[in-house]
């Protein structure tokens, strides 16, 4: 027989083996099968001829045995699709139908361990042929090594103990399922994978045969050989990352003894640990690392055929075995075997049962004390626990045992860096290392036994993948400033207004359209005028007034223009003829009567000192010169004649100086020897109106106080008012000086209040007062008297004209009425 030299251990192996029977290293690299890979079907029929005779016999016997066992097919066929193994077992299922070259490494290790008896004891009478016949039948490949179903009567004590603990686990699962908050998502790939292993392990439980116990002897022998090899840590990484070697502890408890550890306090768990460890020790290398001090339980087994398990236990009690054994000082202090404690598979406070532990635990570990990092018991993901209660689940331990034996290989059976298997490992990492800070992980690594360190060194890739960057400890997450900022932002976002209309409806944080401005945009006002009824009435009234102004009024029929012109001519001719006749004739027939006022004026003039300067204000227009000269003549004549007053003429009109000269000439004063700048002075034009008057009065150069009297000759009331007011405002001394007003007939009535109020001493207005005062003044200068008859005639003509016009009007009305009456008649 050809032999193949193992590249790992250097030992020779038969050429038909894919893995080394000593170190389980793959002899043919191509025989590797990774998780998720679909094994390619190969036709190995050509190799049938080169098989040895004994192997052919074995295969033939296997076929016979398969044909005789119909129930085996009935029970195994539906189980495979029912369990729906994940991709992890896809290769196994497919491999079962193909040649054994397609078996993956880790499964090849199992096969190798199963083949070892055939290799070491090829002359064995029935066991080896039946075993290899099972290999030939894919469905029987993994069923062969299960001894429990083959001999129910020969169930060892450890298996009974397992059933007992399974029942306890069932109870615990039922209790744990109540507070379970696990989500279906927690049924991760690893759980499915493990469940598939359970179901996979059930298959051989059905197809047990009595002859299968023979492989146990062979397995015992192979275990003895493998006991000298290092602990297969990498094999444990099939379900957990290499960095979290502690994960294997819960896997150990999956065998049925870990259930009390979930809820049971520490003392019961410790007491039950002995029972649990009994099956663990019996389970073979898979869970042996956690059952190091439970050797007595192993000795309790009375079955002689299970002696190999004790050896196997010794083989698995290597320093590197307890991947999850080191749970810190807590476990050691409580006397709980570290390996019997699952690592954060349940709330640690319940697990440890000591509240004082919380005091010495860090914050991040307190969370672990309160919450379980494991999927909640009773959830869907824990269904596989119930399946563990089935009798055939011991096959899973066989698998672990095989895997432990296979762990002698330094190469991992699964390449987690590929495909979905890496994702599964990520899930496991996040599950088991979520609360583990780096510093504590480092401490554990530092304190780990040399076996752990070696195991870690053997799988550095898993250690790197074990770190989950997104799973930060709670205290680290609490230090992140992003959370508070996000909370504030979220709070502010909730305060924002959500747009309800327009194309931005549904958006939050929209800048409102109205306050930008909006609020400032002037509200649209109606162009319609809002008016009240009263305003409307006023507007209509105003409209009527305006309309009446613009409406063409029908003119009354008037007489022809010739008749008016004639009337005007008649009246003008009448006045001219009458007045001219009176003036031409020099008639002085009309009487003049003196009045008390004029006598008072003469008395006042008499009080003025002689040669006293008298200010004469000439403030009238040339058109009124004839009237005012006749009116002021008697006064100036009396002052010049009796008082020899020095006249100072000033005028608020530019023509005042000329009028003053005419006044001196026409009033007869000039005839009295008055010479300019000697007896009378022209002060000139006084501009500025009232301001000029006040300035003239208050100007010290003018020495207004030197004037003994003020004679105001004016033809309009405004000029007289200004002088009266400014003299009154200049002070009492000036106001006390005699003020004589000489006004035209039209301005006299408007200045009369000042005379009546005493602000002016005397006023002579019009030819009527002048004639009377001239009469008092001995008819000097006689101008007034010369005009008096004509003046009287003119008044009479005016009265006549008014009466004539009135009579004419009455006659015309009467004529119209008569005509109307005649027309009516």
């Amino acid at each position: 027989m050809a032999e193949i030299r193992c590249s790992a251990c250097g030992k020779n192996n038969p050429d038909f083996l894919d893995s080394c029977q000593f170190c389980q290293s793959p002899l043919i690299p191509e025989s590797k099968l990774f998780i998720g890979e679909e094994p390619t079907k190969k036709d190995t029929g050509e190799l049938e001829e080169i098989l040895p005779d004994w192997l052919k016999d074995v295969r033939q016997q296997g076929k016979n045995a398969e044909a005789g066992d119909d129930s085996f097919r009935v029970q195994t066929q539906p189980r495979v699709p029912k369990d729906e193994p994940p991709d992890l077992l896809a290769g196994l299922l497919s491999q079962s139908e193909t040649d054994e070259e397609e078996i993956p490494d880790w499964l090849a290790g199992i096969a190798a361990s199963s083949e070892k008896p055939s290799l070491s004891k090829p002359s064995s009478d029935e066991g080896p042929p039946a075993f290899f016949a099972g290999l030939d039948q894919p469905e029987k490949q993994t069923v062969a090594p299960t001894p429990s179903e083959s001999k129910p009567d020969e169930i060892p004590d450890w298996m009974r103990a397992e059933e007992k603990t399974s029942k306890q686990h069932d109870d615990l699962s039922a209790r744990l399922s109540q507070p379970s908050s696990a989500e279906p998502v927690e049924e991760t790939d690893w759980a499915k994978t493990f469940a598939s292993f359970d179901s996979f392990a059930e298959e051989p439980a059905v197809q047990k045969e009595p002859e299968d116990l023979s492989w146990l002897r062979e397995l015992e022998a192979s275990s003895k050989e493998m006991s000298e090899t290092p602990m297969p840590q990498a094999r444990g990484s099939e379900f957990t990352p290499a960095a979290s070697n502690e994960d294997l502890s819960w896997l150990n408890e999956l065998g049925g003894i870990s259930a009390p550890a979930f809820e049971e306090p520490a003392p019961p768990s410790s007491s039950s640990a002995e029972e649990d460890l009994s099956w663990l020790t019996n389970l073979g290398g898979a869970t042996a690392p956690a059952s190091e001090p439970q050797a007595p339980s192993q000795s309790s087994s009375s079955n002689a055929e299970l002696d190999w398990l004790s050896d196997l236990q010794e083989a698995t009690n290597l320093p590197s075995a307890p991947a999850f054994a080191d749970t810190g000082e807590l476990n050691s202090g409580l006397g709980i075997p570290p390996s019997s404690k699952p690592f954060q598979t349940a709330p640690l406070n319940e697990l440890l049962g000591d509240e004082s532990i919380k005091d010495v635990t860090p914050d991040w570990l307190k969370n672990a004390l309160e919450e379980s990092s494991m999927p909640a018991p009773g959830s869907v993901s824990m269904d596989w626990f119930s399946e563990r209660e089935k009798p055939g689940e011991t096959k899973a331990e066989d698998l672990f045992a095989s895997s432990q034996g296979e762990a002698v290989s330094s190469q991992p059976a699964f390449d987690f860096s590929l495909g979905d298997s890496s994702a599964a490992v990520q899930d496991l990492d996040a599950l088991f290392n979520v609360e583990m800070p780096d510093w504590l992980a480092g401490g554990q690594e530092g304190g780990a036994p040399p076996s752990q360190q070696e195991a870690k060194d053997s799988a550095p890739a898993f250690a790197e993948n074990a770190l989950s960057p997104v799973e930060l400890p709670s205290w680290v997450q609490a230090m992140r400033p992003v959370d508070s900022a996000l909370e504030e932002t979220a709070a502010s976002v909730t305060d924002q207004i959500t747009e309800t209309q327009g194309p931005l409806a549904g958006f939050r944080g929209i800048i409102p359209a109205f306050p930008i401005g909006s609020s400032l945009r002037p509200k649209a006002l109606s162009l319609k005028l809002q008016v009240t009824g009263e305003q409307q009435t006023g507007a209509s009234l105003l409209e009527q007034i305006i309309a009446s102004e613009t409406t063409v009024q029908p003119q009354k029929e008037q007489a022809a223009v010739s008749s008016q012109r004639v009337l005007r001519w008649v009246l003008s001719g009448l006045f001219l003829m009458v007045l001219g006749a009176v003036i031409g004739l020099g008639s002085k027939t009309m009487p003049i009567y003196a009045s008390a006022t004029h006598s008072e004026l003469s008395s006042l003039i008499a009080t003025i000192p002689e040669n006293a300067p008298v200010l004469v204000v000439v403030d009238y227009e040339p058109s009124f010169a004839g009237e005012l000269e006749a009116t002021a003549g008697p006064l100036l004549d009396q002052l010049a004649l009796s008082r020899r007053a020095a006249f100072s003429f000033i005028s608020m009109s530019p023509t005042g100086s000329a009028l003053a000269d005419r006044l001196i000439l026409n009033t007869g004063v000039g005839g009295l020897g008055y010479q300019p700048n000697l007896n009378y002075f022209h002060l000139g034009f006084l501009p500025g109106g009232s301001s000029g008057v006040l300035a003239f009065i208050e100007n010290p150069e003018n020495d207004f106080t030197r004037f003994e009297g003020v004679i105001l000759i004016t033809d309009h009331a405004e000029s007289g008012r200004v002088w009266v007011e400014q003299l009154q405002a200049a002070g009492p001394e000036i106001a006390a000086k005699p003020l004589l007003l000489v006004a035209s007939a039209q301005a006299g009535p408007l200045l009369q209040p000042y005379v009546s109020a005493g602000q002016a001493d005397v006023m002579i207005h019009g030819l009527y007062d002048a004639a009377k005062y001239e009469f008092v003044n001995n008819s000097r200068p006689g101008t007034a008297r010369a005009y008096w008859d004509a003046f009287g005639s003119g008044i009479l003509l005016a009265v006549f004209a008014i009466l004539s016009g009135g009579v004419w009007g009455v006659l015309m009305r009467m004529r119209e009425q008569r005509r109307a009456e005649l027309e009516q008649e």
């Binding site: 009435t537 012109r565 001519w569 003008s572 001219l576 007045l579 001219g580 003036i583 031409g584 040339p622 058109s623 009124f624 010169a625 004839g626 009237e627 000269e629 006749a630 530019p654 023509t655 005042g656 100086s657 000329a658 000139g684 034009f685 501009p687 500025g688 109106g689 009232s690 301001s691 006040l694 008012r721 200004v722 009266v724 007011e725 400014q726 003299l727 009154q728 405002a729 035209s744 007939a745 039209q746 301005a747 009535p749 408007l750 209040p753 000042y754 009546s756 109020a757 005493g758 602000q759 207005h765 019009g766 030819l767 009527y768 005009y787 004509a790 003046f791 003119g794 008044i795 005016a798």
Partner: protein, 211 residues
């Protein structure tokens, strides 16, 4: 012919030209009016130059002692010329403001001390006689005439109250008498001027005729 006769003849002609308005607007009347306005304006300018500008503005410019008091009026006077151009009319605003402001202040002060207060006191003193009652009645009734407050009548007409209407009617009488008096004064003034003109013409004619 003496200057007085010539001036009298010119005066006579101009008077006749103004009287020609009796037959309507005619060139002689306009000529007389334009001539009167031109002569009056020219005379006024001459008077203002000789009576105001030269003695009060130009003469002080030559006197250093009064120069400071003259510059400000000169600037203000020149700025008033800016009112002739709309573009630079603002330059004369200050001078105009000074004129109006000072004039208003003077007028108000004079009105208070020379008209309002004395007239109020005189009105109160006049109640010693019947004259005061007439003045009061005339004042109240005249003010009542200018009371235009009214109410809407049932026939949708707006009329003042009966009492106010009666007082307004009486006030209108006082107003009519006042305006009649003023018109009579104007007539008397005009009549006097006419008499003076006729007298001068007749006297000239008499002097010319040697009568």
């Amino acid at each position: 012919m003496s200057f007085e006769v010539v001036s009298a003849v010119i005066g006579l002609l101009l008077t006749l030209m103004v009287f020609s308005y009796l037959i309507g607007d005619n060139p002689l009347f306009r000529l007389a009016v334009y001539l009167f306005i031109g002569v009056a304006s020219g005379y006024a300018v001459t008077v203002i130059w000789h009576s105001v500008l030269v003695p009060r503005l130009l003469d002080p410019l030559g006197n250093p002692n009064r120069l400071a008091w003259t510059v400000v009026p000169l600037i203000l006077s020149i700025s008033l010329w800016a009112k002739l151009s709309p573009r630079i009319s603002r330059l004369g605003g200050f001078a105009m403001a000074v004129i109006v402001g000072v004039g208003a202040a003077t007028a108000i002060g004079g009105a208070l001390t020379g008209t309002l207060i004395p007239q109020v006191e005189a009105a109160m003193d006049s109640f010693d006689s019947s004259e005061g009652a007439v003045m009061l009645a005339g004042t109240v009734l005249t003010l009542a005439y200018f009371q235009f407050g009214a109410k809407r009548a049932p026939d949708d007409t707006i009329k003042r109250g009966a009492v106010i209407e009666l007082l307004a009617w009486l006030g209108r009488l006082f107003i009519a008498v006042t305006l009649g008096v003023l018109f009579a004064g104007v007539y008397l003034s005009a009549l006097t001027a006419l008499i003076e003109r006729l007298s001068s013409i007749i006297n000239l004619v008499k002097s010319l005729l040697g009568l």
